[in-house]
């Protein structure tokens, strides 16, 4: 993209030496017009991407901190609870306020509010639904008596604290939940009970799997890329073709191939049984082993290709020169070759690592329940539980990790896009 810039410079120098102002102005104008046209060509894609991609991402991420379901459905109750803290008595005006809100809230908004309250305090959905169906739209004269008659829970703090904590418009509830934390009745941040700690383990698992796969891909990819870069043209072409082949095959197809191979009734077990090496088929699928072996297979091209393109630029004379200066092969490799390959290693490792963090299909098909990473939980909370806030909070964590690593990649490789070769 250097060509137009240098052209402009030469134009500038020519016109500066010429006294013809008009020509200079015309040129300026036509250049400006060309610039505007050029920007006009970029604009459609940028606007399209902002509308179809950037804004939706923003909408999702904003859900991790926005908390509007309860104030929308129960505005009077939220107002009545405004100055209250759990240390004080329950203010009497909240009872008629809740009755009023329940009477006037549209069903769908009320359902959203109940679902939101359930995410903070299990049992709230049932309490809200029961309260509404018992009230039947009636407006009792003694709201407090009516509510506590429906459930004694309205006499205790718990329900009101739940509403208070969900009064919005902003909340840290989802982000805390994504880190296995929550606020207790007094608003203090504490860890959730041991058997509900899911997400820190999932985050650790996501990074752990990505790390294992990256390390193993480097271990296998480095010698392979070295061979491809130093072999004869014909061999090199064959090696590169076998790397490009899986690169072009759809990820789903590759995952399915591995399931055909690894199943209890699959090809590997079949062969082992026939050869009499095992008597019972082995459990090769639905575990970490299967997941990693497939992930390495899938992401190896992202390791090999950057390594290859760096190695290709290192003249073999360097190693020979080192050898002639008396360096033993290992020394020459470590002091001369390796430092020159480091950028390729960095780029390849980051590419593999980033892809591993976001992978969804492969663990779903080949992993067991304890091999699922953040993407699985994001999908689960969107599809099964309809807890958008929590899905958004987990997305924030995943996206932040990817963004940081990607920035590192850009720094290391000097490329602004994740392109190969």
């Amino acid at each position: 993209m250097a060509a137009p810039a240098s052209a402009a410079v030469s134009f500038g120098s020519v016109s500066a030496s010429e006294p013809h102002d008009r020509l200079w102005r015309d040129l300026k104008r036509s250049q400006r017009a060309a610039q505007l046209r050029a920007i006009g060509l970029i604009l459609p894609l940028v606007v399209f991407l902002i509308l179809v991609f950037i804004v939706p991402i923003g909408m999702l991420l904003s859900r991790s901190v926005s908390d509007l379901a309860v104030p929308r459905a129960l505005p009077a109750t939220v107002a009545a609870l405004a100055g209250w803290t759990p240390a004080k008595e329950i203010p009497p005006q909240v009872y008629p306020a809740l009755v009023e809100d329940i009477g006037s809230a549209p069903q769908m908004l009320f359902g959203d509010a109940a679902a939101r309250l359930e995410t903070g305090t299990p049992g709230m959905r049932a309490l809200m639904m029961k309260t509404r169906s018992r009230l039947q739209g009636a407006a009792p004269s003694d709201a407090r008596k009516a509510l506590t008659g429906i459930s004694p829970k309205w006499d205790t703090m718990e329900g009101w604290v739940a509403i208070k904590q969900a009064s919005g418009p902003l909340t840290d509830h989802y982000l805390l939940t994504a880190l296995d934390l929550h606020r207790d009745e007094l608003g203090k941040v504490t860890r959730v009970v041991a058997y509900e700690r899911v997400f820190l383990a999932a985050i650790g698992r996501t990074f752990g799997i990505a790390f294992t796969v990256t390390a193993l891909a480097l271990l296998l990819g480095f010698p392979f890329a070295f061979l491809a870069a130093t072999s004869s043209d014909r061999v090199s072409r064959i090696l590169l073709f076998t790397v490009l082949l899986p690169f072009w095959t759809a990820m789903l197809v590759r995952a399915l191939s591995w399931s055909v191979l690894l199943q209890r009734t699959g090809i590997i077990n079949d062969a082992l049984l026939r050869l009499g090496l095992v008597r019972e088929p082995l459990d090769l699928m639905y575990n970490r082993f299967a997941l990693c072996i497939a992930l390495i297979h899938i992401f190896l091209p992202y390791m090999v290709l950057p390594l290859y393109s760096v190695m290709k630029t290192i003249p073999p004379q360097h190693m020979r020169a080192a050898a002639s200066l008396g360096a033993r092969p290992w020394m020459a490799f470590r002091r001369v070759y390796l430092p020159q390959v480091v950028p390729g290693i960095g780029a390849g490792a980051l590419l593999v690592f980033i892809q591993c963090l976001g992978v969804f299909v492969v663990p779903a098909l080949l992993g067991g329940p304890n091999d699922q990473g953040l993407p699985y939980y994001i999908a689960f909370y969107v599809n099964r539980v309809l807890n958008w806030g929590l899905a958004a909070a987990l997305s924030v964590i995943l996206l932040l990790s990817v963004a940081v690593l990607y920035a590192l990649y850009v720094r290391l490789s000097g490329k602004s896009a994740m392109v190969l070769g």
């Binding site: 399209f48 991407l49 991609f53 899986p246 759809a250 399915l256 191939s257 969804f360 098909l365 602004s416």
Partner: protein, 272 residues
Amino acid sequence: MRISPYATLPQKVGVWTIRLFALLMCLYLAGPIVVFIPLSFSDKALFHYPIQSFSLRWYHQLVTSPEWLRAVLNSLAVATSASVLATILGVAAAFGLWRARFRGKEAVMMVIMTPMIVPAVISGVSMYLALAKVGLGNTHLGLILAHTALAAPLVVITVSATLSKFDTTLLRAAANLGANPLTAFRRVCLPVIASGVFTGAIFAFALSFDDVVVALFIAGPAQRTLPVQMYMQANDLVDLTITAAATVMLVLSLALMVGVEFMKKREVATAR
């Protein structure tokens, strides 16, 4: 790696180890990809080797069962439309980026590249959320727009790569000869960068045709693409139509790969 006639025994062992390693790696990389091809010609309804009798029943199933046929057609229609839209938007933007100089170009580049960086699950979930808001959730148009957004950066990259090798004086020469900018672009620039454009279009098509995750969220049952249909059937091992579908996808990917390699060759040829 050739063995020199003067090699010592450890050197010979070393070279053979490297050769064995390369062979095993090739097997590991290429082997698993083809394992389901024989299965797709099996007559039996179970995942079992060796195959006793061969038939085309699963291919027949693929083009006659309403669900599979719909998936195939959806995939073709969505991938074609998305690839065309992404190519139009991407080529224009790449050309503009190449010509324009302005502050904030880096930021614009970043906006254009985001779809390549964001993990697919997040892209899928957010676009599902937004498209549903405007009534485009579970529609073909919504899916096409989503795939266009994901594929456009690929087109920008490939076209930019060919443009960077293009000599601008050619455009000025065309202008001197009286061509308006559009004509100049079409008659001078486009033929030269055509290989980049086609490569980009192929990349875009492949991306749309391979995507499971984003389509899984945005597509309703009526928009299910082939990969989504395969994903949903992945654990049902009675019906081997999935192996036929996988074979078809594999052949298509190979064709696209050959197409891209051909374009590369052609580009080298025109550069000379």
